[in-house]
């Protein structure tokens, strides 16, 4: 059990040999929750994709679940932004969740009772057991996000990555997602989620990683998200509102 879920040492990431994110230093143990915080274009999605081996590591060493990033994909769950999906696509909620089982099922075998049970349980956990046969496109934004979370759950991952899971999500769905994420952490699953919502990061994460082109801070929320650091990372977009609090003004 000596392996950390995630270990990045002096990592820089980028496309076509041009770095877009540098100086990433982080270690994440099983059961811990890490929030990636930063403005749009800061490199949050890039970091998440690098964990999946979809963005090349230009420098430093990145270890995911004890090995090279691409080699850990079958033990990693990924929840994309719902906005990137086609609402017209003819699939049901249960079909989407079943996608999380595809790698286990393999190419040829038909789905088995254990797969169908896993799908039911995953939908139940996010509170959508009654919507299994519903067309994905009919669901609300928050419900879609929960279906995608259920898909990741059905894969039974050791490391779960979520890209902006609370974007355009209603309060009920946000609560359901937060509850599931806490349960997962308690059960030993490591979590990485990107967000531009500092409140969510403070409440949910054990560790916060502040990004904007490079890593500006890492540590417990109270230490990493001080007004001083935020002002430096965000430039003019961080504004003091008194009481020692800082708010961000998105351009």
């Amino acid at each position: 059990m000596g392996d950390a879920a995630l270990r990045y040492a002096g990592v820089s990431l980028g496309y076509h040999g041009t770095p877009v994110l540098t100086d990433v230093e982080l270690t994440l143990a099983g059961g811990q929750r890490l929030a990636l915080v930063g403005p749009n274009g800061a490199g949050k999605s890039t970091l998440i994709k690098s964990v999946l081996g979809l963005v090349p590591v230009l420098g430093g060493t990145a270890t995911v679940l004890g090995g090279a990033p691409a080699g850990a994909r079958h033990r990693t769950g990924y929840v994309p932004q719902t906005g990137s999906l086609d609402a017209d696509f003819p699939v049901t909620a249960a079909q989407v969740v079943m996608m999380g089982r595809y790698r286990r099922i393999g190419w040829w075998r038909p789905t088995r009772a254990v797969d169908r049970r896993a799908v039911r349980e995953a939908l139940d956990r996010v509170g959508l057991a009654d919507r299994a046969g519903t067309h994905f496109g009919i669901l609300s934004g928050g419900q879609r996000q929960r279906v995608l979370l259920a898909r990741a759950l059905a894969a039974e991952p050791e490391l779960l990555l979520l890209d902006e899971p609370f974007n355009g999500v209603d309060a009920v769905s946000q609560e359901a997602v937060v509850r599931v994420l806490r349960e997962l952490g308690a059960a030993g699953t490591a979590l990485v989620l990107s967000t531009h919502d500092l409140t969510v990061a403070r409440e949910l994460a054990d560790q916060v990683c502040l990004l904007n082109g490079r890593q500006w801070a890492i540590g417990p929320p109270a230490a990493a998200l001080t007004g001083d650091i935020l002002r430096r990372a965000y430039g003019g977009h961080a504004v003091d509102v008194g009481d020692g609090r800082t708010v961000l003004v998105e351009p």
Partner: protein
């Protein structure tokens, strides 16, 4: 209504269409969800040089081999070009389509009977299908359905959520090549018998029409197959009746396509109705062609 099909050549034509219906129902679903209409259209054009070279090298029997080579080359080139990212998908598809078709035209334009060759390439020779051709189509149909069943889950995942599929460890380029090859095989199987005009329609229209009625993928495939069978039967009958009883030369390929398109148009209001009952979708990504980084 049955009687014309007791004429052997008409019976064989219907059998050929039934085989293609079995394949094109499911394949058109994938063409629909991956938005490969343009790629399908391109493939029907790019097998042309293969058909010509195959014919010049090996006579009528060389056509399938030539088309097969050209189809596979196109599938590979299109997959590579769309991965490369230097040109957008649709521009590279257009360029491959026009360039390869032109190679075929250059090859035939030096022969005197060139316009007749083009015409049979467009319309096919559905009424002169031989038992041997039927057997060839059946073999190709089995191969295509096998490839499709084997890849179905991964292909659906990739179509729905490319980033998620890549994250799950699927190789997107490999899956794209797989589907392009399946479409190329359909074109090869069908083009000599039914011509390019009909192949394009068989690959695009059935699923698009079935989508108005259902959101279930398997139901879409089955409806697509049924639709092709109906249109195939109706089209052959119409073209037979028109030419035998009214002396109008209505090509069977055109008749089948027009029936398919008619079905699509009749179902359009149903699709609009379904959409109206649904909640409005939130803003989506701007381009239908975005690739995974």
């Amino acid at each position: 209504m049955i009687e014309p099909f007791t004429v052997p050549f008409l019976g064989r034509a219907l059998a050929e269409l039934a085989l293609l219906a079995l394949v094109c129902g499911p394949v058109s679903v994938f063409v629909f969800v991956r938005r490969l209409s343009f790629v399908s259209d391109a493939l029907t054009h790019t097998v042309f040089p293969g058909v010509v070279i195959g014919f010049l090298a090996g006579g009528v029997e060389g056509i399938v081999a030539g088309a097969l080579v050209a189809g596979v080359v196109t599938a590979v080139v299109l997959t590579l070009l769309t991965r490369g990212g230097a040109l957008s998908d649709d521009a590279s598809t257009a360029v491959v389509l026009t360039a390869m078709f032109s190679v075929g035209v250059v090859l035939v334009s030096r022969r005197s009977s060139y316009t007749a060759d083009l015409t049979s390439f467009l319309f096919g020779r559905i009424l002169t299908v031989t038992p041997r051709q039927l057997a060839e189509t059946a073999v190709l149909a089995a191969v295509i359905l096998g490839l499709l069943l084997l890849g179905a889950r991964a292909l659906i995942f990739r179509a729905f959520d490319p980033a998620g599929a890549a994250a799950a460890g699927y190789r997107i380029a490999g899956l794209d090549l797989w589907l392009n090859l399946v479409v190329a095989l359909v074109v090869v199987a069908a083009v000599r018998a039914v011509g390019t005009i009909l192949v394009v329609a068989l690959l695009i229209v059935p699923a698009a029409a079935a989508r108005m009625l259902t959101v279930r993928l398997t139901v879409m495939a089955a409806l697509g197959t049924g639709l092709i069978l109906l249109a195939g039967y109706g089209g052959l009958l119409a073209s037979w009746t028109a030419s035998v009883e009214h002396g109008i030369s209505l090509t069977s390929a055109s008749a089948v396509v027009l029936l398919l398109v008619l079905a699509y148009l009749l179902l359009l209001p149903l699709g609009a109705l379904r959409r109206r009952r649904r909640r409005p979708a939130p803003a989506r990504r701007g381009s239908p062609h975005e690739l995974v980084g």
